[in-house]
Symmetry: C2
Subunit: 518 residues, 2 copies
């Protein structure tokens, strides 16, 4: 036999009870806010046809790159562009195993949902005029096959998205920023510990058009290079836009985009001009003063930012919450208008004592072309996403994760013949609303049972031996207090007196409730 | 271009807001009970190494059958049975793309979790004596590629499991049955509308051993045939155990297991003897009276059922909740001891008016060999699972789904220039805890906006035109009341007076709260 030892697939992980409570806490708190703004929960499958998801990941030139994709075991018809089954020379329907993929985000499946509904309407001859409004939130795992996985990153992680499909008005984008802010604060982040950075793809596209770059592929290539700014610095960005560079650490040759030097200079100067963070009014003034403002796309982009700024200001979202950041572009391929990213400003010390930041915890923006790419019908859409696992990491690293991770009361299995009594006692406690476990493990030593209780954060243990059973009493051991007092009280008997008490079994539920409520 | 139209992968589905609320309701109610019994939530990835999941699905002879399985894009080392990396003649580590699979249930991944932990302990030289206790609950999607998909069934569906690994005592199995009962009743099922059927694989194995069948593969093949009893009937089962049969509907030839007729007769007689449901005491007496009772395995199986019966009786779980059903075997390959299945007794009428039942809604049992198969270490384990989606279907079909599917209050977008006022009004309502949406759709006709509100179950709409804005008032339209009165009140003005009211915008939150609380 040859094979693999029992283990998780590389890049995947299990989620412990404490991590689950924290993840659920984040989801519940964000759900409150998403619903407050009128979104309903809508779920899509884990797996989709690869073609329906499209290729929008950073650094993904083909559908397969960055995505877990495989051939569906089922043969299905192939369709032509009119949605008709294709047939061979003998008029048989052409069958194929389509490629399917694990979803890499929750936005591409949403576009499929909307396009599928439009397609059905089209088949029924119902499409006329503008498109319907559809708003939903969704959360769950997404999957990325990143060939080189950074430490602490995973290939399966949770996102929590809300989106508005069918809305042209950038008011919806302003609202998206407010929702992110309210959700983060509802989760417990203090104002001033995070910052929403807003930009507009139209500004970048307009600037590039001004330098003569209008090819979609090249536009996107430039975005991806600029997106690396925080990681590689401005000089490396300049080189990657131009003739390429050699990576200092790995020595790898990174090819450049071969953009003419005078145009690279314009792009770099633009980024440099906005390196120092100004007020939103200052940034808007600077953007308007640029010669690129003559370009329509660029101008539209600035005007949209202006509108978003006005709404945010009117509703009390000042520079402490949201700034304009023309150097922020985001790596995903599908954005077409306003984009936003939330940066955590909090620091923590890593294991070597170095100050660290978690970085980006949310992102979003407008993607008016996503449904169009699937179906040819232009549908405006905008939304944003909380990186649930990234946020959980932030809360943990900065000691802000306030969850109650108490385990159940444990009934020690002292004597097998008393099992019926243990079960009745457990039933009493459960009926009183107390989470209670009977120890069923094969290792029966008291030490093992106590170690188990400790691993599970049990607040107290119930011990009933045959003597106690005869008297109708139980010993309650307060494990939480026991831990607290273990250091301050050296005398074993004194410690025992404080930590243990004998109670009548018939009154055990009320006694335990009293202790737990302390 | 050729490809596929926008659609879900065949066999997969989207989950609407109402379905999500119901699914979440089931999960929340079951969570309460699972935690009450001391389980903590532990999650595993959607994807696992196929080898780690094993092959336990009914009708699955190879890893790939019934499972979405594909080659991992990443090359990884191959290990020998001692967990050492294998090397080729030139001492290079042998690399391979391992097969990975979407999990087909939540039990096989749990065995991986436990085996992985044991393996790590083994590497540290820590394993000694009996194994540790581990209890967890988990919920989420599982995936089955069933080549022939029954109508209304899906290839991605949700389960909610709880398991106890490391417990030998069948008290844990009795507890599993109580947990299922309490969870179902907490979700809203009335006692008497469901029935837990309990059996023991040891009884079936013992009976087969008595007829000379001890080969594991053949044992399992027999179980799979008996598992079809409800679908195909006793005569077809007899034929499939013997020389095979021709399916009446499809005309397909179904090969038999070729068991000797006298042994087939013993098995069939056994099933027939228990067709009429007796009390648990009656069934136990009948089981003991069988000649197979001389067989140790059979005897052990009966004694375990006896113990489970005693515990259930002591704690008040009588025949209305749980019966013994020696003809029930379950199709999954990994069970080794007590098994249980919950049948819904409720009927509903299908679209043709025929009486129907949903059938099995929960299942579980003991699987002492699952970790052993991965690692060679014997680890007792037992657990059960609620079929979340099946239960949601039951609640829906029998009109027991009591969820509040109200949408948000909607602020009609009447006049674009008033958007700031709409946003401030929305902010007021949200601050008062009222879910509120501003209509951002591109279709601005009032009819469209009202149709949208209706689709989303919005209870009321807020209308502010420029006249109203000047006066500082808003019109509130009670959509819920409007629907109720639409039939009883013919006069349009009277209806309008009842359904609409004008309020001062500054007091709008309290007014709306009053209406919503009615």
């Amino acid at each position: 036999m040859r094979g693999i030892v029992p283990q998780k697939v590389k890049g995947f992980r299990d989620i412990t009870p404490g991590q689950n409570l924290l993840r659920q806490f984040i989801i519940d708190k964000a759900t409150e806010v998403y619903r407050r703004f009128g979104f309903s929960r809508y779920d899509t499958p884990i797996m989709e046809y690869a073609e329906c998801l499209g290729k929008y990941l950073p650094d993904a030139d083909t559908v397969a790159q960055g995505v877990y994709s495989f051939k569906n075991p089922e043969e299905e018809p192939v369709f032509d562009t009119n949605g008709r089954e294709m047939r061979d020379a003998e008029n048989r329907v052409i069958m194929e195993n389509h490629f399917v993929a694990l979803r890499y985000d929750l936005t591409a499946p949403l576009a499929r949902v909307y396009a599928e509904s439009l397609w059905q309407q089209h088949l029924r001859g119902e499409i006329q005029g503008k498109t319907n409004l559809f708003r939903r939130y969704q959360y769950g795992p997404v999957f990325r096959f990143e060939a080189k996985l950074d430490p602490g990153r995973f290939r399966e992680f949770w996102q929590m998205d809300f989106d508005t499909v069918g809305a042209e008005d950038v008011s919806a984008d302003a609202e998206n920023c407010m929702i992110l802010s309210q959700a983060l604060e509802n989760i417990g982040l203090k104002r001033g510990t995070y910052l929403i950075k807003i930009n507009n793809r139209k500004i970048v596209n307009g600037l590039l058009a001004y330098t003569g770059i209008t090819d979609k592929e090249q536009e996107m290539a430039v975005m991806r290079v600029i997106d690396k700014l925080d990681k590689i610095g401005i000089d490396a960005v300049a080189k990657e836009l131009g003739k390429g560079r050699v990576d200092e650490v790995s020595g790898a040759e990174i090819p450049g985009l071969n953009i003419e030097k005078k145009f690279v200079d314009i792009i770099i100067q633009f980024i440099k001009d906005f390196e120092t963070r100004g007020t939103r009014a200052e940034v808007l003034a600077k953007l308007k003063a640029k010669p690129a403002f003559e370009n329509d796309t660029y101008k539209e982009g600035v005007e949209e930012l202006e509108k978003i700024d006005t709404i945010l200001a009117q509703l009390g979202y000042n520079e402490e919450v949201a700034i304009l950041d023309p150097g922020m572009v985001r790596g995903l391929g599908y954005y077409t208008g306003p984009i936003y990213e939330v940066e955590s400003l909090q620091t923590y010390k890593d294991e070597k004592g170095r100050e660290r930041r978690v970085g980006s915890i949310c992102g979003g923006g407008r993607y008016d072309g996503l449904v169009e790419n699937l179906l040819g019908v232009k549908v405006p859409a905008t939304g944003a996403s909380i990186g649930v696992d990234r946020l959980a990491e932030l809360l943990t690293l900065t000691n802000q994760a306030q969850i109650n991770n108490d385990g159940p009361v444990i009934i020690i299995a002292f004597d097998d013949s008393l099992m019926p009594l243990y079960q009745k006692t457990a039933m009493q406690l459960r009926a009183a609303g107390i989470d209670t476990e009977i120890y069923y493990g094969a290792k029966r030593g008291l030490k093992h049972q106590m170690a188990y209780a400790d691993r599970n954060n049990s607040p107290l243990a119930v011990i009933i031996g045959s003597n106690e059973a005869e008297k109708g009493v139980a010993t309650i051991k307060n494990l939480r207090l026991g831990k607290q007092l273990a250091e301050s009280i050296a005398d074993k008997n004194e410690w025992k007196n404080k930590v243990q008490q004998e109670v009548a079994i018939e009154k055990i539920a009320e006694e335990i409730k009293k202790i737990l409520e302390k």
